[in-house]
């Protein structure tokens, strides 16, 4: 049992750092970290495009994919180093819906035509995806979805409404769960289809969430015709694929590295914030709470390493992995809340973007991105299976209740 990095690991780490410093340099980092535009509405700036192109050129765009489709031969320690270093520099990531969620389904269950058509475009981020899962009547009870697909010749005709669809307003395509059969168990009769967002009959309506952020949408599907070759795997087996998708990429969802960056920022902000002639960081009560979070985060970071080590030995992620989402989102939310608290009165100003563009930020430049991150971050314990649903899963799968 040891945590030491080998010389080879250290050399790899140096290589990664150099790559990051070249293609995602310090000034770009800072500009992006203090930008008050919400991440998902920013689109691809030239800097982000350059970063993604450099990743592809280097063969590092999708480390976890099979090598045949552009993945790396990195061992788990190298993947861990990569995640840590890119998180520390707050490097942009490929859109998760394509690269992290859909791609594993495609390279596991997709046809050759689907793989050839979609995987390269996802890897190069030339095709943006959204996920058509939740519906007005199907949230935590996802299998209760009602969007119907009826086969007519070589097409499915899809009717229904998807809700909370992140990024639908910028997506080119949507992977979507639809009901192709009803009557049996509700998990059976669901199919996994790929829909071009330009297909006639699709309407995307924005849903503004707290802070006026446009990230999620309602997607109406009215007589949308989808070619049958866009079915993934077998008809009525979509639930299996969707579940398989959830077990992919279980590590990384804890957001440990990201939270470490946020925690370090919180400490700096507390040190820079005046209080009683000293700084907020001198306040024992505040400092105690930050330190408590730090310990919890360190524990989670080791739990994540334990999961990685298990996977490295060829095992499936053990029960520890289910902790990652719950604790990771709780800690991330707590850090965001404490950062807002640290700003004091200056947490309140929430100016229009045009005002910031013209006259600069009010107070600390990190206020707006932190506030938007905090507001949006409340969703992290709701999406991807709410934390309460996660506990139901652990209770059943791990405790056998």
């Amino acid at each position: 049992m040891d945590l030491a990095l080998t010389d080879a690991d250290l050399a790899f780490q140096a290589e990664v750092r150099e790559f990051i410093d070249t293609y995602w340099p310090e000034d770009v980092r800072r500009a992006r970290a203090t930008s008050s535009r919400f991440e998902e509405s920013r689109g691809h700036s030239p800097e982000v495009r350059r970063w993604i192109d450099a990743l592809n050129e280097r063969g590092w765009a999708v480390p976890n994919w099979p090598q045949a489709w552009g993945g790396t031969d990195w061992n788990p320690t190298q993947k861990y180093i990569w995640d840590k270093e890119t998180a520390k520099a707050e490097c942009p990531q490929l859109s998760a819906f394509g690269a992290r969620m859909l791609a594993p389904v495609l390279y596991t269950w997709g046809t050759d035509a689907q793989k050839n058509e979609f995987l390269p475009k996802i890897r190069e981020e030339r095709m943006i995806w959204c996920q058509g899962y939740s519906e007005p009547g199907a949230g935590s009870d996802l299998a209760g979805l009602a969007t119907r697909a009826v086969r007519e010749g070589d097409e499915y005709v899809v009717n229904g409404t998807k809700l909370w669809t992140s990024g639908a307003h910028v997506a080119d395509w949507m992977f979507c769960l639809v009901r192709t059969e009803s009557g049996g168990k509700k998990q059976e009769g669901i199919s996994f289809v790929l829909i071009d967002m330009k297909t006639p009959g699709i309407t995307v309506n924005p849903v503004y969430i707290l802070g006026g952020i446009h990230s999620v949408n309602e997607v109406e599907l009215k007589d949308v015709r989808v070619p049958v070759e866009n079915l993934v795997g077998e008809e009525n087996k979509g639930w299996t694929y969707a579940k398989g998708l959830l077990t992919h990429e279980r590590t990384g969802i804890a957001g440990v590295a990201r939270s470490e960056v946020q925690l370090a920022r919180l400490k700096r902000i507390a040190q820079d914030t005046g209080m009683d002639g000293g700084s907020l960081w001198d306040d024992a009560a505040f400092r105690t709470r930050v330190t408590e979070l730090e310990v919890e985060l360190e524990a989670l970071s080791v739990t994540e390493l334990r999961v990685l080590a298990q996977v490295a030995q060829g095992g499936a992620p053990g029960p520890e992995s289910s902790i990652l989402k719950i604790r990771g989102t709780e800690i991330g939310q707590a850090i965001a809340m404490m950062t807002i608290e640290a700003f004091g009165y200056y947490g309140m100003p929430y100016p229009e973007q045009t005002l910031i563009d013209n006259e600069g930020p009010i107070g600390n430049p990190y206020v707006m991105p932190t506030m938007k991150g905090m507001l949006y971050g409340r969703a992290s314990s709701i999406f991807g299976g709410s934390n309460e649903i996660q506990k139901n899963i652990i209770s059943k799968a791990v405790l056998g209740l």
């Binding site: 049992m1 788990p76 330190t291 730090e294 360190e298 524990a299 390493l305 506990k391 209770s395």
Partner: protein, 376 residues
């Protein structure tokens, strides 16, 4: 990056597991505790034969050269069995001080005897006013010819009643809470002027108030350097902190697993109470607390084995914070979910709760270690 146990470590773990399972069930433990000494000399002999008493000592001293990971393995299993034999007091505390500060003659006189099970020891470091500050030492050691005269009061000395010898911290110079000027002394249990008031602790151990009234020792009783005892104490106590933390992790494992089992058996409102979601989520929380504590335990053990310094100290304190928090939650909820049964002396759960509660205040509670963690 590797979290697996070596072959030797696995063997060690297996031998402890077998003992806990075959020879240390709850009723046996109760009988052992009811005896005059509060533990079994027979068991202690067996510990020696199985090599457990040799674990943390160097091979040239007759030990097996184990490090923090091996101590962790032993203590996690002892924690699962709620073992009351004074392993912590003799091997980790008194033995630890000898290991780090003893000269050849001292090691020769004591370590071999500890390893073969013929001598027991105790570390008398705490005092009524000291709380968790190792530097707060009011016991005095005054030079007297070639030797010293010790006077003072040592508080809640774990394993005190069975100790054949004590390692005592005393002030040879400096002010009341100075880290400098503390010296460790080896004092025989039957030394003139040493008296003990023995008692059981709430969690099934035995301890003593040790009073030193003009106890004369020779220069050869000085363990380590004169005035340099604090650094030794800090390292020994950090190792012991890992040890009780690992003990707590073992106890938490039993608490959460027994609670889950109980909830499958206990029927109310016509169904097993484990079917109620409010209890399911509580047990998931217990499981998560246990796993998080286990992660920090691994971190602390690995950091200690990398070498003793700031990184290791911080990891130990982080672990103790987590143990304090997790142990409190798991222990309390185990009692709560067992209902009235959890309150009884005849069920194991309440005994784990008591031990977990006392572990929080052993070698510094969560608040103490949070402050230390933040300051490193």
């Amino acid at each position: 990056m590797d979290f697996s146990l070596s072959e030797e470590q696995t063997l060690l773990k297996d031998s402890l597991e077998r003992f806990i399972q075959n020879d240390y069930d709850f009723d046996t433990r109760r009988k052992v505790m009811a005896g005059e000494e509060g533990f079994s000399r027979e068991n202690w002999k067996q510990f020696a034969e199985l090599g457990w008493l040799a674990v943390p000592f160097a091979e040239e001293d007759g030990g097996i050269g184990g490090g923090a990971l091996e101590l962790m393995i032993v203590m996690e299993q002892l924690g699962r069995g709620l073992v009351v034999e004074p392993y912590l007091a003799t091997v980790i505390l008194a033995g630890g001080a000898l290991k780090y500060a003893g000269n050849e003659a001292q090691k020769g006189a004591y370590l071999g005897a500890i390893i073969e099970g013929s001598k027991m020891g105790a570390l008398a470091f705490a005092e009524p006013q000291s709380r968790f500050n190792l530097a707060d030492v009011a016991t005095t050691a005054t030079a007297d010819g070639d030797g010293y005269v010790l006077s003072g009061h040592k508080a809640v000395v774990l394993g005190g009643p069975s100790a054949d010898f004590f390692v005592v911290s005393a002030r040879t110079s400096g002010g009341p809470r100075d880290a400098d000027g503390i010296t460790l002394f080896l004092v025989d249990g039957d030394a003139a002027g040493l008296s003990r008031r023995d008692y059981p602790t709430v969690d099934g151990l035995r301890a003593s108030e040790v009073t030193l009234e003009g106890v004369k020792v020779g220069a050869d009783a000085v363990l380590g350097t004169v005035g340099g005892g604090h650094a030794v104490l800090e390292q020994v106590i950090d190792e012991a902190t890992l040890a009780v933390g690992a003990e707590a992790v073992g106890g938490m494992e039993v608490c959460y697993k027994d609670t889950v089992e109980y909830s499958k058996q206990r029927v109310q409102f016509g169904q097993p109470i484990g079917k109620f979601q409010v209890l399911q989520h509580r047990m998931v929380d217990m499981f998560m607390e246990y796993e998080q504590a286990k992660s920090m335990m691994y971190l602390a053990a690995m950091r200690l084995d990398e070498g003793y310094g700031a990184v290791a100290k911080k990891a130990v304190s982080g672990f103790k914070v987590q143990v304090g928090k997790s142990g409190r939650f798991v222990g309390q909820q185990a009692v709560q979910l067992h209902g009235g049964m959890g309150m009884t002396e005849e069920l194991n759960i309440g005994h784990y709760f008591k031990r977990l509660t006392m572990i929080d205040t052993t070698f510094g509670n969560a608040d103490f270690h949070l402050k230390r963690y933040g300051a490193i």
